[in-house]
C-alpha cells in the first residue's frame, strides 16, 4: 500500500489529485466561511468587548494559519533538504506567500482589535513581537528565494532558513505563558477545556476550518503553478539545446 506522502510525491499523481482537490477545498472554504460569518454576526455582543468580539472570527483563524502555514513550510523544507525532492521544494516555496498573507492579516486585524480594547495600535509585547518575527521570516524566505538564480542552491539555502525559523513557532504559541503579556492568554486550548461560550466558539472553529480549507486550495493551486513553471523551464532548456 502506498502512503499518502509517497502517493503525492509523484508529480503526475499530485497533479491528478490536486486538479479535483483544489476546487473541492475552495468550495468547502466558501461554505464554511458563509456559515461561520452568519453565526458570528448573529452572536450576541460580548459583555466586556462589545461588538469588537466579531474581529476575533477573522483574527484568530489568521493567526493560527500563520503558524500552520509556517509549519507546512518547515516540513516541506525538511523533506526538500533531506530527500532533495523537487515537489517538496515547490510546496515549501508555494506556502511562503500564503503564510505571509495570513501573518499580515493577523497583525493588521489584531491591531484593529487592540486599538479599541487596549487603547493602542501596537505594543512590543512578546506575542505581537514574535508574530512580527514570523512575518519577517516569511519575507526573508521570499527575498532569499528571488535573490538566488540557481534553483538548487536557492532550495537548499531557503530550506535551512525555514528550518531555523521553526524555532519561533513555540515562542509564538507559548509567549503568552512565558512572559507577562497584554495579549489574551490561551483560550481555546486552555486546561480544562475552552474558556469561551459555545455561541462564540462554534463560529470561531468554523472560521478556522474555512481558513484551513482556503489555505489548502490556494496552496495546491500554487504548487500546480510551480510544477508547470518547472516543466516550462525544462522544455525551454531542451529547446535551447536542439
Amino acid at each position: 500500500m502506498i502512503s499518502a506522502p509517497a502517493f503525492l510525491s509523484n508529480p503526475e499523481r499530485f497533479m491528478a489529485f490536486s486538479r479535483w482537490a483544489a476546487p473541492l477545498f475552495g468550495g468547502l472554504a466558501v461554505l464554511l466561511a458563509i456559515t461561520g460569518l452568519w453565526l458570528g454576526f448573529t452572536a450576541p455582543e460580548d459583555y466586556q468587548q462589545g461588538d469588537t468580539v466579531r474581529i476575533m472570527f477573522i483574527h484568530v483563524p489568521a493567526a493560527w494559519l500563520s503558524m500552520f502555514a509556517y509549519f507546512c513550510l518547515g516540513i516541506a523544507s525538511f523533506l526538500s533538504l533531506v530527500f532533495r525532492h523537487a515537489l517538496a521544494d515547490a510546496a515549501a516555496k508555494s506556502a511562503a506567500p500564503l503564510g505571509a498573507g495570513f501573518t499580515a492579516l493577523a497583525l493588521v486585524t489584531g491591531s484593529l482589535w487592540g486599538r479599541p480594547m487596549w487603547g493602542t495600535w501596537w505594543v512590543w509585547d512578546a506575542r505581537l513581537t514574535s508574530v512580527l518575527v514570523l512575518f519577517l521570516f516569511y519575507l526573508a524566505y521570499m527575498a532569499l528565494r528571488s535573490a538566488l538564480d540557481d534553483e538548487t542552491k536557492a532550495a537548499r539555502a531557503c530550506a535551512i532558513l525555514a528550518l531555523v525559523g521553526l524555532v519561533n513557532l513555540p515562542v509564538v504559541h507559548w509567549s503568552v505563558n512565558w512572559w507577562n503579556s497584554l495579549h489574551q492568554g490561551v483560550t481555546v486550548f486552555a486546561k480544562g477545556g475552552p474558556k469561551m461560550a459555545p455561541v462564540f466558539l462554534v463560529p470561531l472553529l468554523l472560521m478556522v476550518l474555512a481558513y484551513m480549507a482556503a489555505f489548502g486550495a490556494l496552496w495546491l493551486v500554487r504548487i500546480r503553478g510551480e510544477v508547470w513553471r518547472r516543466r516550462a523551464d525544462a522544455a525551454l532548456s531542451r529547446l535551447a539545446r536542439t
Binding site: F41, G50, G101, L112, R229, R231, R238
Partner: protein, 53 residues
C-alpha cells in the same frame, strides 16, 4: 438576530473585515493567474518541442 450596527466600533470591525476580504481576493487572483500563466507557457513550449521532433 443579524444586527450590523456596531456603534462606535464600526470603523474597526469593517476595516478588519474589508482588509481580510481584500487579502483573500488578492491571494486567490494571484495564485490562479500564476498557475494559469505557467500552464499556458508549459503547454506552448511542449507544442514547440513536438513540432520540432
Amino acid at each position: 438576530m443579524l444586527d450590523l450596527d456596531f456603534g462606535k466600533y464600526e470603523g474597526f470591525i469593517w476595516a478588519a473585515y474589508g482588509i481580510s476580504a481584500l487579502v483573500f481576493v488578492l491571494l486567490t487572483v494571484a495564485s490562479l493567474r500564476f498557475s494559469a500563466h505557467w500552464k499556458r507557457q508549459a503547454e506552448q513550449l511542449k507544442a514547440q518541442e513536438d513540432a520540432r521532433s
